[in-house]
């Protein structure tokens, strides 16, 4: 028998060993399993774990399942399930992105709403300051008209116009002051000063515009006289109102206490927060200016107007002393202002008592808050409800 040579036997050994250690070497895990581990370590996945825990947990479950499939020898299954895990992690990352975006949106919208609220408050303040400016400008025109010597040369048309406007404003104020005095006297004998003031109101009718324009001095003399009359009437009415107040205070304790002071009333009105209303005080007492009480151009109460009158009536019922003077502001429009006044007066009489609320006074356009030709002219249309108080503080 011939035995194989020593070198041939060695070759056989190497071949068998190669087959055992090389060919039968275990199949390595699919790359996806390593990729999953990398994906899990990425910062986005860490965020996803916090923001989308359910989806992330599903990824973890699939990762374990893939590993188990590999251990069981199902390499193809490990690959596929591993890819499912990758898809789940990707979904978790996307869900987390969505959650963070939603959180940003909510935060932005909250800040935006706050900014809108602040903006709205600023606009209210802006309007208030604008009204104050308009009132001061008006006052300045009146004062300049007063300080301008009459007949000092030919008056410019603009100056005469300013005087006429000032006259109308002063005449209205005079009428309202006298009316406030009468209301406050309420059946008691009126002081002589008030009777005289009321008599002076009759002389306040201004000269027709056409006459003024055709007058030789351009109406300067007439407008100056009318202004002087209006100023005197206003002073007289204010004096009359003061006399009534003095009498009431002298007789305090005899049924006049409840006519009240302005401070407490102003506080009460402030707390009531009447919508779209502005509070103020002047020689008559406390004024509540109601804006948007009526549908635009109509005499029908708006939703805001109904609420305004409801709240106002509640306050009026609480402070039952001061009579209520209703003044309708706005350019004349075929009886619309009259109807508006009647509506407000009826409503207030029903809730606050008929004897406290006389018929409304129509102010027309004599007391504008802002430029009647300007973009905010609609603000001139308003209802003033004046609580005529016995004391100014």
């Amino acid at each position: 028998m011939k035995y194989p040579s020593r070198s041939a036997a060695g070759g056989l050994v190497v071949m068998v060993a190669g087959l055992v250690f090389g060919g039968c070497r275990p199949i390595p895990p699919p790359d996806v399993l390593a990729t999953i581990d990398e994906v899990r370590r990425a910062p986005a996945a860490a965020q996803a774990k916090a923001s989308a825990p359910d989806v992330y947990a599903e990824g973890d479950r699939l990762r374990r399942e893939a590993r188990r499939a590999y251990d069981d020898g199902d390499v193809a299954g490990a690959q596929i399930i591993g890819e499912q895990a990758l898809a789940a992690y990707e979904e978790a990352v996307a869900v987390a992105r969505g959650v963070r975006a939603e959180q940003r949106r909510v935060a932005h919208e909250a800040a935006s709403a706050e900014a809108a609220e602040r903006l709205s408050a600023l606009e209210v303040e802006h309007q208030s300051v604008a009204a104050e400016i308009a009132a001061l400008e008006k006052r300045l025109v009146v004062l300049q008209a007063i300080n301008q010597p009459l007949g000092a040369g030919q008056a410019a048309g603009a100056r005469r116009q300013a005087r006429d406007e000032a006259t109308r404003t002063l005449a209205l104020e005079a009428r309202l002051l006298c009316l406030a005095g009468t209301m406050l006297a309420a059946g008691r004998p009126k002081p002589d000063g008030l009777n005289e003031a009321e008599a002076s109101l009759g002389a306040l009718e201004p000269a027709p515009k056409e006459d003024a324009e055709t007058a030789p001095d351009g109406g300067e003399g007439r407008s100056g006289v009318a202004l002087e009359r209006a100023m005197r009437a206003r002073s007289a009415c204010l004096r009359g109102l003061s006399l009534v107040r003095r009498k009431l205070l002298e007789g305090s304790g005899t049924g006049t206490d409840n006519l009240g002071g302005a401070d407490a009333l102003l506080d009460g009105l402030g707390e009531a927060a009447i919508p779209s209303a502005r509070l103020g005080r002047d020689e008559r007492g406390v004024t509540v200016s109601l804006f948007g009480a009526f549908d635009r151009g109509e005499a029908t109460l708006s939703e805001v107007g109904r609420r305004q009158l409801e709240v106002l009536s509640e306050v009026a019922a609480r402070f039952e002393g001061p009579p209520l003077l209703v003044v309708v502001h706005g350019p004349p429009a075929g009886g619309r202002n009259d109807r508006r006044g009647t509506t407000v007066v009826t409503e207030l009489r029903r809730r606050a008592g008929a004897d406290r609320v006389p018929d409304a006074t129509l102010a027309g356009a004599a007391q504008p808050l802002v430029d009647p030709e300007g973009p905010l002219a609609a603000q001139n249309e308003r209802i003033d409800v004046v609580f005529v108080t016995a004391q100014l503080d």
């Binding site: 087959l19 890819e83 939603e102």
Partner: protein, 180 residues
């Protein structure tokens, strides 16, 4: 000689059976030959895929945003078809689940993108409002300054009127006389 032959054979086997990535892309995982969405057989996956595409168009979003998950859906569908054709029902079902997983991921990405767009719009609105707020505050400051100036003017005019003397109770002639 035989030693060298044995060594070569064993190395070749090692590469063939052990190191070659034979399972790395199970059932056509490595194939680039995938159908388009419209070429898919009718079914819920095709319906969802086309729905997502339509949404992208409706929302005027770039399709690239969902390129990867949508491509993975198509690839998975193709692999499912291959596995089932080879009679491998178990892996075919797993591949179908994979397609659905990628669909879910695509929907989540789409939702995230839309949420990010809403957040971006909210941020723009906030910025606009803050700018409006700044403008309004500046305007109010100007107005308050103007108010202050007017108050001073009125005070001066009132002082002048007081000095001039308020009208007395006499008739209109008095006013005319004083004026002249």
């Amino acid at each position: 000689m035989l030693l060298a032959l044995g060594l070569t054979l064993s190395l070749t086997l090692s590469f063939t059976l052990g190191l070659a990535p034979s399972v790395a892309h199970a059932h056509g995982g490595g194939s680039n030959d995938v159908p388009s969405a419209s070429e898919l057989p009718p079914g819920p996956i095709k319906k969802d895929l086309l729905g997502i595409r339509r949404r992208l168009q409706t929302e005027k979003l770039d399709e690239e945003l969902l390129e990867r998950p949508l491509a993975e859906v198509l690839r998975s569908v193709e692999r499912t078809r291959g596995a089932k054709a080879a009679g491998d029902a178990r892996h075919g079902a797993q591949l179908e689940q994979l397609a659905n997983r990628w669909l879910k991921a695509a929907r989540a990405v789409l939702k995230a993108v839309l949420a990010e767009r809403r957040a971006s719009r909210a941020a723009t609105q906030l910025r606009d409002r803050e700018q409006a707020l700044d403008r309004a505050a500046a305007l109010l400051s100007e107005q308050q300054a103007r108010l202050g100036r007017l108050q001073a003017q009125v005070a001066a005019a009132e002082a002048a009127a007081k000095k001039r003397g308020l009208p007395r109770e006499e008739g209109p002639a008095d006013g005319r006389e004083r004026g002249r």
